[in-house]
Subunit: 410 residues, 2 copies
């Protein structure tokens, strides 16, 4: 494994990228609500999108662009309005958003990707969004501050902006991958996450870029869940503009593997931040299923545990109610022998094996509660049936989740 | 359709049944925690059970009895401890519970069904449960009060006991079906409900009794969900002792149909009471999907809506956030055209079509909120693609759900 360094910088850290976040008046006054990530030269693009039958207008647009175009120049995003369930008017508004950005940047409309997040069913206010695109084109800049403004502008119920950046080496050249994402509720990605933008200066073929991204999400963004609700807007795109100066990667060689490893650091880091910042969440819940018969089963079991409302409320209450963990695994659809399963809980407060062979050990409830009281809690499940493992990330279910979603629109 | 009358009386309303609810000391002092339903003559039995891979000891026991025996005499139940994930010791405790009941009743152990509900992973206190069986055998009696005591004894986080009774006619004889059930959390039945006991004096073959029950649950108990967590203990059994005096039903004739209709009134009534009494629930949410292409699709769509945390919190907040309804349908796995869907909300406050052809109508938000503020809210979804329909029942997601489950064991 090559060295992967975690640095700061976000989506403008790789060579040749600019970004901006502006207030276009879609949300409360002065709130940043539009963002742009721009590549100074054409960049190869790849993307993964929601599997929801109900797809937002920008998702339909991006799917077309990613399918038909080799490169793109920018993505523009807005928060506050999802532009989903908005019919022909919504498609037209999205196209107008792309057109306005293209015109302001002096590029073609089919070089612009779009993404929206917010309330479903509302139409984008056309004048405001078009004006917003002009503001972004004027404001775009290199540097970490510009990237940060973009990350801020795409937040909805997120409490923190989400940025991760790494560098690694390819052919002696330093390559950077920067990423930002948003997502706090309606988070149960399937093929992608809520909104995520990744930028790299790596030179790589479009085919391999898409393959790397598609393979990656299966074990990163697709392994997180806040509320089991798969959004209509899930979008993850990556730009690769080649400015790092390496010879373009066109085969699955060691360079490709190095890229995949670095990419996975960025995506799993963003995924974990998203899960821990789930709506109302007070804790990050990490569940690792090990020694499962195969990988799909390990994933299914891990996801069943992090998505169980009963597990999530028990974690909130710091209650080692392990029966709910085994129960959730039991209805996951995966077949297994519950009578061999071990369960161990881990946090900075310590480690305690609470279940051995499907039954309670004589663990201390007090110590278990102490472990579960921490901000990051890991549940290790040993299936004792094979070599496969998988990790999923979620959060606890709290009063605040109910509060946030009981009056989201008010 | 024959006449079906709803009466009072519960599990002792049909001829030849007795019941009891007693305090065996499994829970807080004086709390009723064991129950019995007894047939004065051998009764045909049928049952449906949880599909969870993790099955409680009493579920394993009942599945064996229902598979191998034509008739049984009684079911004994306890609350407080689920006897799940308890290994060989749990199986032995369950057998001891059945043995004690059999001895006290002067029947054989394989004529006794068992059911448990409560905390997973704890062992049954053997002496207390055996003593409880004796108390029940002494206390059992005919009449509505005895049935009511049994319904009370099986409650856990339920706020109300759940009893439904109907009469109908077969061959000029009056037949009665009485039922009781419990269930408030970990409610997402699949093949059965939490705990449900039905008694009838109908004469019917065991084969048809099982078939009627198995077909029934698909559109009754299997269509409710409180929290998407399928229990380890789901058990629904029916006793049919033949004392109504009709000629035994052995074919799917008009008499069989009359029974199925009456049975469905009992099961859907109990199911709705359970959904409305979901943990922390302030409202019953009923979702009817109509004009779907086929029945399985209609069921899938209806269940996706009632199980969405985001829909449930919006209903709690009386917020007509219909995008979440369409979003939940979109990730249900069913394929459909979102751009033809209509959505109408209904309650005693009125009716409002809020979505037409996948987009918002110009409905009044104020009136929509007024409709959603009521204790029972119905969402009608028109798919416009066929003739199939299905109804699912759930509840809102509230602070109290989080509270109840954050410290269930404390």
């Amino acid at each position: 494994m090559s060295e992967i360094k975690i640095i700061t910088g976000g989506v403008t850290a790789a060579k040749g990228y600019e970004a901006a976040g502006c207030a276009a008046g879609l949300r409360k006054k002065e709130r940043l609500d539009v963002a742009m990530v721009y590549s100074q030269v054409p960049a190869k693009i790849a993307g993964t999108f929601t599997t929801n039958v109900v797809k937002a207008a920008p998702v339909k647009w991006d799917q077309m662009i990613v399918r038909e175009e080799e490169t793109a120049r920018a993505i523009v995003l807005n928060s506050g309005i999802a532009n989903a369930c908005t019919g022909a008017e919504g498609l037209a508004a999205n196209a107008a958003m792309a057109d306005a950005a293209a015109q302001a940047l002096g590029v073609k409309s089919n070089e612009i990707l779009t993404a929206s997040t917010g309330v479903i069913g509302m139409q984008l206010p056309l004048e405001k969004i078009v004006h917003g695109m002009k503001l972004l084109a004027e404001a775009k800049a290199e540097g970490a501050e510009a990237a940060h403004q973009a990350a801020l502008a795409i937040m909805t119920t997120d409490t923190i902006p989400k940025e991760v950046t790494v560098t690694f080496e390819v052919q002696g050249k330093t390559v950077t991958i920067g990423g930002m994402s948003k997502g706090s509720g309606m988070i149960h990605p399937n093929m992608a996450t809520m909104l995520g933008v990744l930028t790299t200066d790596l030179a790589i073929s479009k085919k391999l870029l898409q393959e790397a991204l598609s393979n990656d999400v299966v074990d990163s963004f697709n392994m997180i869940s806040v509320d089991r609700d798969t959004s209509t807007n899930d979008t993850l795109v990556i730009f690769a503009n080649g400015l790092a100066g390496n010879v373009e990667i066109t085969e699955k060689d060691a360079d490709y593997e190095a890229f995949c490893e670095a990419l996975h650091v960025v995506t799993t880091s963003l995924a974990k931040i998203m899960a821990g910042d789930g709506e109302g969440a007070s804790k990050l819940l990490e569940v690792t299923v090990e020694h499962a018969a195969d990988k799909p089963k390990a994933r299914t079991l891990a996801k069943a545990v992090i998505t169980s409302n009963l597990v999530k409320t028990a974690i909130y209450g710091s209650d080692a109610n392990w029966g709910r963990i085994l129960c959730a695994m039991g209805y996951s659809g995966a077949d297994f022998d519950p009578e061999v399963v071990d369960i161990t809980i881990v946090s900075i407060a310590g480690v305690s094996k609470i279940v051995a062979n499907g039954m309670a050990t004589d663990y201390s409830e007090e110590f278990a509660t102490e472990i579960l009281k921490q901000e990051k809690v890991t549940v290790l499940v040993d299936m004792k049936e094979g070599d496969a493992s998988a990790t999923a990330w979620g959060c606890d279910l709290t009063y605040d989740y109910v509060k946030i979603n009981g009056d989201y629109r008010s």
